[in-house]
Symmetry: C2
Subunit: 506 residues, 2 copies
């Protein structure tokens, strides 16, 4: 009989990946389903990760000249009809407000009353309502560029939901800009994708591939959709952020015009770009293990937790005193220009206490007992290593090196994820091989397949559709850095000038 | 003929206060009406003030142990019926979602489809939906207190709206806490009112009176509503923040129960507390003058604006160089632990440039011309003084004293507002005097009246209603610091133990 390894999360990733994901969220107290269909409650531990993402990203936006503003939650129905492609893409599964009052009904309960002359749609995205403002704000070329961002909630009525990855209501930021020229708008599109790439890689420690979507996968109404794509531990792709060059489509629809320097009338060029609480789903699925969540230090709600050992009554006050002193010493430090975030857990619940913090993914756990105090040493465990591996360092040394330890964990998580992606990415030029790569070996685990395929594609929707229909595999993007290389389309054999990333996706 | 003084805002406060308010918002580019009835667009200058309020307040919340979380935008209709008083107070003018899809209708346009089995209400406040979560989170006394805050948008369908003061959608924070005892919940209620008072007085420079509402003016379902009330420049009161002790009303309605230390079942005690973008309306009406907005330095989107004088072509690059150098020197400084926020305006629009910044209320305007550079001196004007009053200081001295200049402005604004309130607050014990105090002297200016009256009231709703019906004057609060004093109720003459603040209100 083989010795069974206990894990804190059941099932494990290998046993049932989708269920493991739900259990990690539950065990780490990130979020939960709400009584409202498809909507989630983001609990403090999960919301804190979002706040940390927001703060870093907001600073980056502002450094590029973007300013925050706020636009209405509701969009008049006729606005949704303004841009033809947009209607097809977004005017479908929306929450529609039809009444503005509640009254006592004949059976005593409340019923909707006060029907609106024109229904209002709860924003699924705000291009049309923000476009209306831009058309009012913009007069002369001197007013350009307009660089706006909004932090908001949006609603898209989803039939099958999953915490963070796909919910009817989610939190996001949506940037909207208007420019005098196509070149400038395109430059902004790329610039913001670069910001997303930095957030993903340098903060979420999640390696991403930057590229452009195929026409079929574009944002409805965009001329180019650029994206960052990450590989999850089940080798599926997650679209983690998108930046759209909207050409003049929305500007025409919303009448965003300006007078040029030579006093002619011109139509502006616009962009929009967004990331959402979906990033937290990506963070979970990139790093977590069978013991629960692992949060990259730069975004961790707590960088470390202090666990004073208080079972010896005589030593209790001495241990607490040392703990408080250590916490105070650490709190004075800054980690990447933010204060070091420390938790102290004094609960008397035995071994469950340490496991709670393992499951919550806090980067460092420090146990403080009389022996450590006697040595003036700090006994700690890193979340990126086995839970049995613990190290002791003299207190001063620990305090002086804590930032570099956290950076090491941050780097380690990134490298691990990068290695995983590289090990599960193949250049494939043969159709049979491609089909076999994406066909689950084990019928009971349909989610297990090859990973990312870098494969030639002619650019025709027909070939893309064939692959999607046969394998539920889509083009994630045509990567920017793949370089030109002539080849033959996997399906039709026609000339292809570069490879696309194919994968199953969330 | 008297010399006519030009003002940047027309009409002036004396001419037409309500219209002046709208014009200040327009001239300072804070916000505007949106095409969606009753909803506003908060423009970057206005949103930045909100962000600054948020940041300060969020830190204060967290210092008291509160954590942020996020709950659904939608509330199932049956939740609204849970708490009897709450139904009466909030289940009225609500946005109601009845459909979850849009389809092409018979005439080609989009029409609502996919009717929901149970309508959803867009949250007017979240006691009921957050209460549902608390009931799940709470098991044992060890889980208490639960201290949660949410930054969110809420919707209350308003018939008559005014930017910032009363809009159908607004932004706010709502805190919700649960406690083991009534005492602890009451303590939290007061503690959060104290935070609001600090934000109002130390940041908005807006003096407030802290007190409890009369029963008639309480939050529907609360046992005690504490509030901060400020006086605007038209001598009307603005309720700027409320903190509610909810007793066990909502805990019973949402089944928020726990096991006590001696293993009995108990019902929790809850609180809720909120402030909103209404604070910005209060800020505008407390400080602004007939030249436009005045923003207290601690919340200003820009602390100062640099206005290089560039009309001398030969000196142009020299002036710009000096300007950039000064900006860099200033940006290194911190003002109350935040970076100093500097704008540089190089637009070639003549005198309109300076006036733009006066109207936007930036605390300090600095003009930089060749003569100032020759002297290495900074020529500046303060927004709290006449726009003609300008001072020159050697550059080093200016840079070293900028924080104290800003603090002086901040203090000055507060003192001015405090003096105004004191000058317009009377202790009134005589009914005729009271009625005359609140009766406009000039029929054409119904908004001009006495101000705040500190008057004895027996505590009966009847007497309160009489005053409200006769004069549209309400009890703003029974102030905490007024002390016990026996007197006679203004209306019925019965014994009164303390004075209440009576005023017309927004």
């Amino acid at each position: 009989m083989s010795k069974k390894v206990q894990t804190a999360i059941s099932p494990t990733r290998a046993q049932d990946y989708p269920e493991w994901y739900q259990q990690v969220i539950k065990a780490s107290d990130l979020a939960e389903r709400s009584p409202v269909r498809g909507c989630m409650v983001i609990k403090p531990w999960g919301y804190s990760i979002w706040e940390n993402i927001q703060r870093e990203m907001d600073d980056m936006f502002k450094d590029t000249g973007v300013k925050n503003a706020y636009f209405p939650l509701f969009i008049p129905l006729n606005f949704m009809e303004k841009e033809a492609a947009h209607v097809e893409g977004f005017a479908k599964e929306c929450a529609v407000v039809t009444h503005h009052r509640l009254e006592k009904g004949p059976e005593g309960g409340l019923v909707p009353a006060g029907q609106l002359a024109e229904p209002l749609v709860v924003r699924p995205t705000s291009e049309t309502i923000i476009g209306e403002s831009f058309s009012k704000w913009l007069n002369s070329y001197r007013d350009l560029p307009i660089l706006i961002n909004q932090w908001a909630n949006v609603v898209r009525w989803e039939m099958r939901t999953r915490l963070f990855l796909r919910t009817s209501e989610f939190l996001w930021q949506e940037g909207h800009t208007a420019h005098a020229t196509a070149e400038e708008a395109l430059e902004r599109t790329s610039q913001m994708l670069e910001v997303y790439s930095r957030i993903a890689q340098d903060y979420l420690a999640m390696p991403v591939i930057r590229g452009s979507k195929s026409e079929a996968e574009r944002f409805p109404g965009a001329e180019d959709t650029q994206c960052i794509e990450a590989m999850m531990q089940d080798r599926k792709a997650l679209q983690a952020g998108t930046s759209h060059f909207l050409g003049q489509n929305f500007a025409k629809a919303s009448n965003i015009r300006f007078q040029t320097a030579d006093e002619k009338e011109a139509i502006a060029w616009t962009t929009s770009w967004g990331v959402s609480t979906r990033l937290i789903g990506g963070l979970i699925m990139t790093h977590s293990d069978d013991d629960g969540l692992i949060v990259p230090p730069k975004l961790a709600p707590a960088h470390l937790v202090l666990l004073p050992i208080l079972n010896n009554e005589a030593q209790r006050s001495k241990v607490m005193e040392y703990t408080e002193k250590l916490a105070a010493q650490l709190r004075e430090q800054r980690y990447h220009d933010r204060r070091l975030r420390i938790e102290i857990d004094t609960r008397d619940i035995g071994g469950a206490r340490g496991w709670d913090w393992i499951k919550k993914g806090v980067p460092l756990r420090v146990e403080i007992g009389p022996r450590d105090i006697a040595k003036d040493a700090v006994f700690f465990a890193r979340r990126d290593k086995s839970h049995r591996e613990k190290t002791s360092l003299p207190r001063e040394e620990f305090c002086n090196s804590i930032c570099s330890i956290l950076d090491e964990i941050q780097g380690n998580l990134f490298q691990r994820a990068m290695d995983f992606r590289q090990a599960n990415t193949q250049r494939i030029d043969n159709k049979a091989e491609f089909y076999s790569y994406f066909t689950p070996q084990n019928k009971e685990k349909p989610e297990i397949h090859g990973g990312f395929a870098l494969t030639h594609w002619c650019g025709e929707a027909k070939c893309e559709t064939k692959i999607k229909e046969d394998l539920t595999v889509t083009i994630r993007c045509i990567p920017f850095n793949s370089g030109k290389e002539n080849g033959k389309c996997l399906i039709c054999g026609k000339l292809s000038k570069q490879r696309a990333i194919f994968a199953k996706a969330y």
